[in-house]
């Protein structure tokens, strides 16, 4: 359903179950919900489905998925996507769920950081360890300069046109953006890195070293930014070199790229019972203290909890049974085996 407001175009995505988190547990829940003819829509802050499996360890093997003696985490996600394809799940990717409200019909409205709204009678939180957020260097004055010259993610490279830019880090993002911005975009690019070797791809590392050699960028190795100074915006960085002491570099922007780390984030403020960064649930159906909101997978906790993908699959399976009874209190649910009935997906 879409309708016009005077100034903005608002889209309301409607479904049966809003799943917050598109990791393996959230994905498999689409399958189990689909068998009960319940539709799902997933929200994830990452641009691709798969959660930790895709973001942290896509090339690592997993050995405890039943019937798979060994499967790469990335392949597990691909298999799950294929398995749920008949049930046509919707996705809101690259956006994180920030708030939850109720409408007059007792439906939940989940809104993302970009304002996308989702409506459903059931919400399943499958948020894993939380929203992947950039690692921020431990510099006390840093928050004063966020979006005033300090950016943790490069969204629009045009922001850096004809500017002096300092990038920190040694991973692929740091290397790729150094190469990109040095190619006629920024006025000057300085890369500050803790050591001489890089975590990023060897080809990119070589390109960066070549750029430094030819004077197109400045590369300060064995060094770390330890201070930011400026009047209302970034003007100078204080850099500590391992052997040569402190130096100061004037710049318009500092982009620290130290990877992503998961944080529970706004879900912590949804009124749910939280214990040690996890949502407390009833193991009867993985319901939370708020009727209609469930929590499955790594994000929940209960006596005997094990953070295993295997257990998350089980939790999602039982949870949709309870969700069905909540949506259709007068209907009886009979367990049907896929081997007998096959899998009948949705038409559209």
């Amino acid at each position: 359903m879409a309708y016009f407001c005077p100034h903005i175009f608002i889209v309301m995505i409607e479904t049966d179950i809003i799943i917050v988190g598109a990791g393996p547990c959230g994905l498999f829940t689409v399958f189990e919900a689909g068998l009960l003819k319940l539709r799902c829509h997933l929200i994830d802050s990452l641009p691709e489905p798969g959660g930790q499996c895709a973001e942290i360890y896509p090339k690592k093997p997993i050995f405890d998925i039943p019937a798979f003696p060994e499967v790469l985490a990335g392949d597990l996600v691909n298999h799950l996507m294929k398995q749920i394809e008949p049930f046509k799940p919707g996705f809101t990717l690259g956006e994180s769920a920030v708030s939850i409200d109720k409408d007059e019909d007792d439906n939940f409205i989940v809104t993302t950081d970009r304002g996308t709204k989702h409506k459903a009678p059931i919400v399943a939180i499958a948020g894993g360890l939380g929203v992947f957020t950039p690692r921020k260097p431990p510099i006390a004055e840093l928050p004063n300069f966020e979006d005033k010259g300090v950016e943790y993610i490069i969204k629009d490279p045009e922001v850096y046109r004809d500017k002096d830019v300092v990038i920190s880090g040694g991973g692929d993002s740091a290397l790729d953006w150094t190469i990109f911005l040095a190619d006629g975009v920024a006025k000057s690019v300085t890369l500050v890195h803790r050591r001489q070797g890089f975590k990023g791809h060897p080809d990119s590392a070589q390109k960066v070293l070549d750029l430094a050699e030819s004077g197109k960028i400045r590369f300060i190795s064995d060094a770390d930014v330890i201070g930011v100074e400026g009047n209302g915006k970034v003007e100078t960085l204080v850099i500590k070199h391992k052997t040569e002491g402190e130096l100061r570099v004037n710049t318009d922007h500092w982009v620290p790229l130290f990877g992503l780390t998961p944080k529970l984030g706004p879900i912590a403020d949804w009124g749910l019972d939280i214990e040690k960064n996890a949502i407390k649930v009833d193991t009867f159906d993985y319901s939370t203290n708020i009727p209609g909101i469930y929590a499955i997978g790594d994000v929940n906790t209960y006596p005997g909890k094990l953070k295993l993908i295997l257990c998350g699959f089980h939790e999602g399976t039982l949870m949709v049974q309870s969700a069905f009874k909540r949506i259709f209190p007068d209907k009886n649910l009979v367990l049907k085996y896929t081997t007998v009935n096959g899998v009948t997906g949705f038409e559209e």
Binding site: R135, R195, T261
Partner: protein, 107 residues
């Protein structure tokens, strides 16, 4: 069951004397978690999060750092020359008398 004696100094400076079993394929991150010390172990021990970052303050002979561990410490904060990831320190007889200090949590 055989043990090594390990001291973990938490972020408040308190010392915890732990017995680390050497025959259960455990690492320092897991030992800290089992003792309910504030170590997250977010990635489960794959050297991919640095939430078990610690400083080794004793002279034990330790395994060489793998490329993965070195890369991860590259992106961590408060890194010193004696920094290691607890998850990469597997409990064995070489760790008798090990003293580690938990690194500060990063934001």
């Amino acid at each position: 069951m055989s043990f090594v004696n390990i001291t973990v100094i938490d972020r408040e400076g308190a010392e915890h004397k732990l017995e680390g079993p050497t025959d259960m394929n455990m690492n320092m991150m897991e030992l800290c978690k089992a003792a309910e010390l504030p170590v997250e172990g977010t990635c489960g021990g794959m050297a991919m999060c640095a939430s078990c970052h610690c400083y080794v303050e004793s002279e034990n002979s330790l395994p060489e750092m793998s490329g993965d561990e070195e890369d991860m410490l590259d992106e961590a904060f408060f890194v010193e020359d004696n920094s290691r990831l607890g998850c990469q320190l597997h409990l064995n007889d070489n760790l008798e008398g090990l003293v580690v200090r938990l690194a500060p949590e990063s934001a």
